[in-house]
């Protein structure tokens, strides 16, 4: 039996050494660049690489010398270096152009350019502002879409606004410090002198369909931050803005602070007893359902504040105690009626339409919202209804005092009624419509008034539970409170601008079926068919020629 022997020459071993060594060297260099330092694996790869090449040089010296000094090696080495040089030049050009932010917006509506209104807001930026975005690798595309917009702000502010992107998966502690809740969260803040983020000014940038409105709105809020102070009356058992329980107001208080408003507690009773008035720096005063009605002295203090252009948000819940806050025949209720044409009624709204109540007919959903008002503009009965629990009915005088304009924001349905027997409701939780005694629906639950002469504003809401920690996240509850305060403090005017419409604004397509068929004939049959026929003609001509 004949057996072929396998012969391995020194040359072949040398060539294998060259291949393995070359591969190991390449992997080692890539690893070195990537890691930025020598790891055991990289050291091993480099050692194998050098060892392989040495083996090649020892076992196949002629081939090695030929490779290093040969014409082919010289040319190929030159070619590789020249290619690397060109790649470097191209990369450098790319980086320079990327930093230069040279962009041409060719869309008809200039959808990717910042509007004149935004530029006006940005001209007010005088301190360094940092846009901090949190994007994981999975959100890279989102980051790029955002980035091309954010960089316009950087250019428009001559670098006063800068961008910084953080991977929340790699930096969970940083993400937690910012309060990141999901990938793609963006924040803006001032920078301290040392270049770090000033967390006291940190604001979350909301994400809607309009990037410009979101970011410019946030910048405007940041610029206005710290200029408006809202006081919460905490006398007479009122709801507490620092209470974190379900019945507290800490969530909305934190939300207000996040949006640049300064909030503070304030005891109206103590202040009046001390002979002082409502602080002059109060952009608005919130009366969050004190349990007892105000005295004449307190009413005088509120009147003085309002006459100086103040703003009051009154949360008037249904209360079943004696001398309850804003009782119908009380002095404060009469003051509001006389001066602003608004008052609370001693009646609780009962919603008999099952579709507009939640657990009981006393948990009512807004049936009608006047969206043409500043307070109702962001609310709608479908997606952001407001939920009230045991709400009071309000009355609006359609012939308000001179210089005063007023109106309704939210109403209950036609099927609702106002239960006036509060004793039975409070003691036995029973309610029934009594013709003549109870008030027929629809009933007002939120109303506003504006005195153009002294610039005072009042918002009266027939419920307080809706803004507590337990209910603030429901439907449009948070929006109602926020927008009421925004209107009262005129914060909206400070940050208002008309953003670029980020819809195409182009008309929809309306064509007949016949037109569609004709278009299909042209584009699917005629044009491709013509090209195919031309190809056939060429093929036939070639066939004939050959």
């Amino acid at each position: 039996m004949h057996r072929d022997s396998i012969v391995i020459t020194r040359n072949q071993i040398g060539q294998w050494g060259a291949f393995i060594g070359g591969g190991a060297l390449l992997a080692g260099f890539v690893g070195l660049l990537w890691q930025g330092g020598l790891t055991p694996l990289i050291a091993a790869l480099l050692t194998v690489g050098i060892g392989g090449l040495v083996l090649w040089a020892l076992l196949a010296p002629q081939e090695f010398i030929g490779f290093v000094t040969g014409r082919q090696a010289r040319y190929s080495t030159m070619a590789v270096f020249a290619t690397l040089l060109l790649t470097g030049i191209v990369s450098l050009t790319y980086i320079v152009l990327q930093r230069a932010v040279l962009t041409l917006d060719m869309t008809e509506g200039r959808r990717f350019s910042i509007s004149a209104e935004t530029q006006a807001v940005l001209r007010r930026v005088t301190r360094p502002i940092r846009i901090t975005g949190f994007y994981s690798p999975a959100a890279l595309r989102l980051r790029e879409v955002d980035d091309q917009f954010f960089r316009l702000y950087e250019v428009a502010t001559n670098g006063l606004m800068t961008r910084n992107y953080i991977d929340p998966e790699q930096n969970p502690a940083v993400a937690q410090a910012f309060g990141v809740v999901e990938d793609g969260n963006v924040f803006i803040s001032y920078l301290k002198d040392d270049g770090t983020v000033d967390f006291s000014s940190l604001m979350r940038v909301s994400r809607t369909s309009s990037q410009e409105r979101d970011l410019t709105g946030a910048v405007a809020r940041l610029l206005a931050a710290g200029t408006l102070k809202v006081y919460f009356d905490n006398s007479r058992g009122a709801l507490d803005p620092f209470d974190t329980s379900q019945q507290g107001l800490s969530a909305i208080n934190n939300g207000m602070r996040e949006n640049g408003l300064i909030t503070a507690g304030f005891n109206l009773l103590d202040t009046v007893n001390a002979g002082s008035g409502i602080p002059a720096d109060a952009a608005a005063l919130v009366l969050p359902r004190p349990t007892l009605d105000y005295t004449e002295a307190e009413i005088r203090a509120i009147d003085a504040y309002l006459k100086s252009g103040g703003a009051v948000l009154i949360l008037a819940d249904a209360l079943f105690n004696q001398n309850a806050f804003l009782r119908q025949d009380g002095a404060f209720n009469q003051y509001l009626w006389d001066n602003y044409g608004l008052r609370a009624l001693d009646a609780v709204v009962v919603e008999t339409d099952a579709a507009l109540s939640v657990q009981t007919p006393l948990d009512i959903i807004s049936a009608a919202i006047f969206t043409n008002t500043d307070l109702g503009a962001r609310l709608n009965t479908g997606e952001t209804p407001v939920l009230f629990s045991v709400a009071r009915a309000l009355d609006v005088n359609d012939s308000p005092p001179s210089n005063v304009s007023n109106g309704r924001v939210i109403m209950s349905s036609e099927a609702s009624y106002g239960e006036t027997n509060l004793q039975a409701l409070g003691e036995t939780n029973t309610y029934r419509y009594d013709e003549g005694a109870d008030l027929p629906g629809p009933l007002t639950t939120v109303a506003w008034a504006d005195n153009s002469a002294n610039r005072s504003r009042v918002v009266l809401i027939g419920d307080a539970d809706f803004v507590t920690n337990g209910l603030i996240a429901v439907g449009g509850n948070g929006i109602l409170f926020t927008d009421a305060l925004t209107w009262l403090t005129r914060f909206g005017e400070a940050i208002s601008f008309s953003p670029q419409a980020f819809v195409t604004g182009l008309p929809m397509i309306f064509v007949s079926v016949e037109t569609l068929d004709f278009i299909a004939f042209i584009t699917v049959i005629l044009v491709p068919g013509f090209v195919l026929l031309a190809g056939l003609a060429v093929w036939l001509r070639r066939q004939r020629a050959s």
């Binding site: 191209v90 890279l140 584009t523 056939l536 060429v538």
Partner: protein, 242 residues
């Protein structure tokens, strides 16, 4: 050199128009774009405004497969039939040969793009499309196409086998196309960003396709073309080194 480029360019364009395969490629591309256009149009009626970047965006994917078909024979066939050596002995430089061939392919592709403008004409007749957006998308896809053809040319110069050249080009282009999704599979953000910076798609979808021209995207496509053509010239040149 310009005369050399012109000569090779004229020869290439002539070959395209004399080749039934080029017409077949055009037929397939126009049929696909036609179907795509009609499908979107039917869906859009009474629902939404026309998308001016629809066809260019589709082409950004289609070119992964069509560019190799246009470039696979360019140098591989010349090499297999031995005409490349003949061409190299002609009084034209290697650069002129490569540039002429590339420009020929790009010209043919540009003609195809011009034919697809019929969709914009139809849209303009039945509605009011955003013409600026459309022009931007076409500029982008024209540059994008040039880059894919340049990549295809490199692989055509590497082998004598057209099928191998087409397969390698498609693989490379698919990789460059898919690298747009690097973030979905790579946990390291910096690496994912680096890979995405190299993707063909990444420089189109968030800029040209939405109606904006960014200087760095133009530089990217122009740079890809420059580097790929430079490599092709060096590979062709390497025939003389042996």
């Amino acid at each position: 050199m310009l005369r050399g480029v012109g000569t090779v360019f004229g020869r290439e364009v002539g070959q395209y128009f004399a080749s039934p395969a080029a017409y077949l490629i055009a037929f397939a591309l126009l049929l696909l774009t036609g179907l795509m256009f009609n499908s979107d149009l039917t869906f859009s009626v009474t629902q939404k405004a026309a998308d001016p970047a629809l066809i260019p965006s589709f082409l950004s994917f289609a070119m992964v497969f069509f560019a190799p078909l246009l470039t696979m024979r360019m140098l591989a066939e010349e090499s297999r039939e031995g005409t490349l050596e003949l061409l190299l002995t002609a009084p034209v430089s290697d650069t002129a040969v490569v540039l002429g061939k590339f420009l020929g392919a790009w010209f043919y592709y540009s003609l195809l793009l011009l034919v697809t403008l019929i969709y914009q004409v139809i849209l303009a007749a039945i509605t009011q499309p955003d013409l600026g957006h459309a022009i931007c998308a076409y500029i982008g896809i024209w540059l994008y196409g040039g880059a894919t053809l340049a990549v295809g040319l490199v692989f055509s110069s590497l082998t004598e086998n057209q099928i191998v050249a087409a397969f390698l080009s498609m693989s490379a282009l698919l990789l460059l196309w898919l690298s747009d999704l690097a973030g979905e599979i790579i946990a390291n953000l910096d690496l994912a960003r680096l890979i995405r910076q190299l993707s063909l798609q990444g420089h189109y979808t968030t800029s040209f396709a939405v109606g904006i021209v960014r200087a760095e995207d133009v530089a990217f496509y122009a740079g890809i073309m420059a580097v790929m053509l430079f490599i092709t010239v060096r590979i062709v040149e390497s025939h003389r080194w042996r």
